[in-house]
C-alpha cells in the first residue's frame, strides 16, 4: 500500500476502489453507503429520495461539446437519474484559484445555468472559496443532487440477474478522448466532441417503457469495462459482451489504436449501461433510440452465471470469434510507447 495519494487513486479504476474501501468505507461505514451505487437511496424519507455528489476538475476548463460547468450539472444529474429518480435540486460549491479570470467564471456559470435548465433542475444553494494561486488548478466544482425516486423496483448495481440483456445507449470513448485531445493539443487527431449530456429524461422513458430495469450505470471514469466489472462484482454474476456490437466511432477507434489506448476504458459523460430482463430489452432500446442522446443504442451482451469460475468478471467475445477477459482499469490509462 502506498504511503501517499497517487494520481491513480482518482482514476476511477481498481486503485480508486481500494481507496474507497480501505479509507472512506472503513470510517463512514453504513448500509446506505455500502451499496456503492451511483447515488444513495434514502428510503426512510417519503417519497424516497436519491442523493449523489461529485467533484469536478478538468483541464482544459472548456472543450468541444462542453465545459467543467456543463459536466458539473450533467454528471450529478445522471448519477441521481441512474437510481430511477427524477433529479430536482442541485447544490454547487466552487473552489476558485486566485487570479482566475472573471470572464472564465462567468462562462462556466452560464454553462451551468444552461445545463440545469435543459435538465429541469434548479441550483438552490452553494458556496464559494478562494485559495491562493497554485493551491488549486483554476477552478474546482462540487455539486450535490437530490431527486425523487419513481422507479419500482429501484435499479442498482447489485440487481443484475443471469439471463438479463446488457444495453448501452450509444458510442463509447468520445468524452475521454475529446478532453485528452484538447488538453494535449493532439491536433493530428480528427475533430471530436464530448458526449456530455443530461440523461434524466431518457432514463425516465426507458424505465417507463421497460417497466422493470435491474441496473442503470453511467460509464464515466474507467469507462464501460470498469462499469461492467463493478456490476458483475456487485451482483455476483459474469457478463459476456460482443466486441462487434459495441458502438465506437471510427475516429475514436483509430485515435485509440494510434495512442495505445482502449476506448472501453475511456470516460463517457452522456451514456448509460442498462441491465434488464431479456424480454424488456427491445422496449428499452426503442426508448433510448427515441432520445437524441440514445440514437446509437445497442444491445452489447448478456448476464451469465459464471463461465469456468469467472464469476464477477466480464468476458469479451472478440471480432474474430476469440474471447478474453475484459479486466478493470487499474490506475490511469497510460499511452503506450509505440
Amino acid at each position: 500500500m502506498d504511503t501517499c495519494i497517487l494520481l491513480d487513486d482518482g482514476s476511477g479504476g481498481r486503485a480508486s476502489q481500494r481507496l474507497v474501501e480501505r479509507c472512506f468505507l472503513r470510517h463512514f461505514d453504513n448500509p446506505l453507503l455500502r451499496r456503492l451505487d451511483d447515488a444513495a437511496l434514502l428510503e426512510d424519507i417519503a417519497p424516497p429520495l436519491a442523493m449523489s455528489t461529485d467533484s469536478y476538475t478538468v483541464t482544459p476548463l472548456f472543450f468541444p461539446g462542453g465545459s467543467i460547468g456543463s459536466l458539473a450539472v450533467h454528471g450529478t444529474v445522471n448519477d441521481v437519474a441512474m437510481m430511477g429518480a427524477r433529479p430536482r435540486y442541485l447544490s454547487c460549491a466552487f473552489i476558485l484559484e486566485e487570479g482566475l479570470p472573471l470572464a472564465d467564471l462567468e462562462r462556466v456559470a452560464r454553462n451551468m445555468a444552461d445545463a440545469a435548465r435543459a435538465a429541469s433542475v434548479s441550483i438552490v444553494t452553494g458556496d464559494t472559496k478562494v485559495v491562493p494561486r497554485t493551491a488549486c488548478d483554476k477552478l474546482f466544482i462540487t455539486t450535490t443532487g437530490v431527486g425523487t425516486v419513481y422507479a419500482n423496483p429501484t435499479p442498482s448495481g447489485h440487481n443484475a440477474r443471469v439471463g438479463d440483456a446488457v444495453l448501452v445507449s450509444g458510442s463509447l470513448g468520445d468524452h475521454g478522448l475529446t478532453v485528452l485531445r484538447s488538453r494535449e493539443n493532439l491536433s493530428f487527431l480528427s475533430d471530436m466532441t464530448s458526449d456530455s449530456a443530461p440523461l434524466n429524461s431518457m432514463i425516465e422513458h426507458i424505465v417507463t417503457a421497460a417497466g422493470c430495469v435491474h441496473t442503470l450505470r453511467d460509464p464515466t471514469r474507467g469507462g464501460l469495462a470498469t462499469t461492467l466489472n463493478e456490476i458483475a462484482q456487485q451482483s455476483n454474476v459474469s457478463i459476456e459482451i460482443e466486441e462487434t456490437a459495441i458502438p465506437v466511432r471510427e475516429s475514436v477507434k483509430n485515435a485509440c489504436s494510434f495512442l495505445g489506448l482502449d476506448p472501453l476504458y475511456l470516460a463517457n459523460e452522456g451514456k448509460c449501461v442498462c441491465v434488464l430482463p431479456e424480454d424488456r430489452a427491445e422496449k428499452a432500446l426503442m426508448a433510448m433510440r427515441a432520445s437524441p442522446y440514445g440514437r446509437q443504442a445497442a444491445r452489447i451482451g448478456t448476464v451469465i452465471k459464471d463461465a469456468e469460475g469467472r464469476q464477477g468478471s466480464v468476458v469479451l467475445r472478440t471480432r474474430i470469434g476469440g474471447e478474453r477477459i475484459l479486466g478493470m482499469l487499474e490506475g490511469a490509462q497510460l499511452p503506450r510507447i509505440c
Binding site: A15, L259, G322
Partner: protein, 368 residues
C-alpha cells in the same frame, strides 16, 4: 481505415486458422513436437491477447512473449538513475506515458516521484519534449529515450533539432535497445527453447530484413508480421510451413508497411546520432552491443554525459522469474509471484509493469 478492419475479418481469419491447423497437422504427423514461436514486440503481445487470437490458436502451436516491450526491459539500475534525475531541482523529466509505472529497486516509480514533487511530463512525441525545453528556459528537460529501432530515429531527429536550435537545456537519456542483438542472445542461450521468431513489424520498417539473416543461417524461421489478427495468422502459417518443408528463411509477411530494404533515411539518422553500445536488460542482464549510446559529438545533449548517472547494478527481486518469462522458458503463471505478490497494481518485475508486458497481458486478458 479499411486498411486495418479488412485484416480483422472473421472469415479471413478462419481461413488462415484452417491453413495453420493443416500445416501443424502435417508437422505433427511427421513426428514434430509442439511448435514454439516467440514474438519480440509488445504490440504483437497485446494484439495476440486483445484480439482473442490466443484463445483460438491450435494446440500444436505455443505463443512465447519475448523481451519486446521497451519499457519492460528497462533495467532497475536505469530506473534508479531516472528517479535520481527526477529529484534534481530545475529539472523536468519528459517521457512516454508507460514509463511512469516502472518500479525501481525499492519499488518506487516516477508516479511516486511525481507525488513527492518531481516534475514529470508525459509527451506523445520527442519533439514535444523539445518544445517543453523552449517553454522552460530556466529548467533542463531530460527526455527518456526508451524504445527500439522504430522509436529511436525520431529521438535522433529531435536531438539534431536541439543541436540546430542550440537548445542548451535539452538532454536525451538514451536507454534505447536494438532488436537483432537480443535475438542473437536468445538464439545462443542454451536455456531457451524457441522454434521460430515472429519478427517485429514496426522495427522492421526501419531495419528491413538483412539484420535478421543470422536466423536463417541458424535454421530458425523469422517472419516479419503486421499487427492485425490476419497479419499475425499469416506470419504463423508461413513459419509453420517453413518448418514443415524444412526451409527456414527470413521473410516479410507485412509488405504493406515494411520494405525489404527497410528505411535507409531512418537508419542514417540512427548512425549519425547514436553508436551501438552494451546495454542492461531487465531480467536478462548485460547484452553486448544491444543498446544505443549518444555519440560523443553530441555529448552536450546527452544526459549520460552531463549528469552523474552511474548507478550500481542491482540484483533482480527475490522470486521474480521475469528473466525466464522474457526468454520464453516459462509462461507467466508458472512464476511463483504471478497474480499473488505481483499484479498490475503492485508489479514486481518488468513483465507485469507495462500493459504490453507478457505478465500484464496474461493477467488482464487471459483466463486465470
Amino acid at each position: 481505415m479499411h486498411l486495418t478492419s479488412a485484416f480483422q475479418d472473421k472469415t479471413l481469419c478462419a481461413g488462415l486458422l484452417a491453413r495453420l491447423t493443416r500445416a501443424l497437422d502435417s508437422l505433427h504427423a511427421a513426428g514434430g513436437k509442439q511448435l514454439r514461436f516467440m514474438e519480440v514486440c509488445g504490440t504483437h503481445t497485446m494484439a495476440i491477447f486483445q484480439s482473442g487470437l490466443r484463445s483460438l490458436l491450435p494446440k500444436g502451436i505455443a505463443h512465447l512473449s519475448g523481451p519486446g516491450c521497451p519499457v519492460c526491459v528497462t533495467h532497475d539500475a536505469d530506473i534508479a538513475a531516472i528517479l535520481h534525475l527526477a529529484e534534481k531541482d530545475s529539472l523536468i523529466v519528459a517521457t512516454f506515458g508507460d514509463m511512469l509505472r516502472v518500479p525501481g529497486p525499492n519499488g518506487n516509480n516516477l508516479k511516486h516521484a511525481q507525488a513527492a514533487g518531481a516534475r514529470v511530463e508525459i509527451v506523445y512525441s520527442p519533439l514535444d519534449a523539445l518544445t517543453l525545453a523552449a517553454k522552460n528556459p530556466g529548467d533542463t528537460v531530460v527526455f527518456l529515450g526508451i524504445g527500439f529501432e522504430a522509436t529511436a530515429p525520431a529521438v535522433a531527429a529531435t536531438l539534431l533539432c536541439a543541436c540546430q536550435q542550440q537548445r542548451k537545456n535539452f538532454r536525451v537519456f538514451s536507454l534505447h535497445k536494438r532488436v537483432p542483438p537480443v535475438l542473437r542472445s536468445l538464439l545462443n542461450d542454451a536455456d531457451t527453447d524457441i522454434d521460430a521468431f515472429l519478427l517485429p513489424g514496426h522495427v522492421s520498417t526501419v531495419l528491413g530484413l538483412a539484420p535478421y539473416a543470422f536466423l536463417a543461417e541458424a535454421r530458425v524461421p523469422g517472419v516479419v508480421g503486421g499487427f492485425e489478427p490476419a497479419d499475425i495468422l499469416l506470419a504463423l502459417c508461413l513459419i509453420t510451413e517453413q518448418i514443415r518443408d524444412g526451409q527456414p528463411a527470413v521473410v516479410n509477411a507485412y509488405p504493406r508497411a515494411v520494405n525489404d530494404a527497410g528505411n535507409p533515411k531512418a537508419r542514417a539518422l540512427l548512425d549519425q546520432v547514436f553508436v551501438p553500445s552494451d546495454a542492461l536488460w531487465r531480467g536478462m542482464g548485460r547484452i553486448a552491443q544491444s543498446g544505443f549510446a549518444v555519440r560523443p559529438d553530441f555529448a552536450a545533449w546527452d544526459a549520460a554525459a552531463t549528469f552523474d548517472l552511474r548507478v550500481a547494478e542491482t540484483p533482480p527481486p527475490r522470486g521474480c522469474r521475469c528473466g525466464d518469462v522474457l526468454k520464453g522458458r516459462i509462461a507467466p503463471p508458472a512464476c511463483p509471484l504471478f497474480g499473488k505478490v505481483c499484479t498490475p497494481a503492485t508489479p514486481t518485475g518488468p513483465c507485469m509493469v507495462s500493459t504490453e508486458g507478457s505478465c500484464a497481458a496474461c493477467y488482464n486478458y487471459s483466463e486465470r
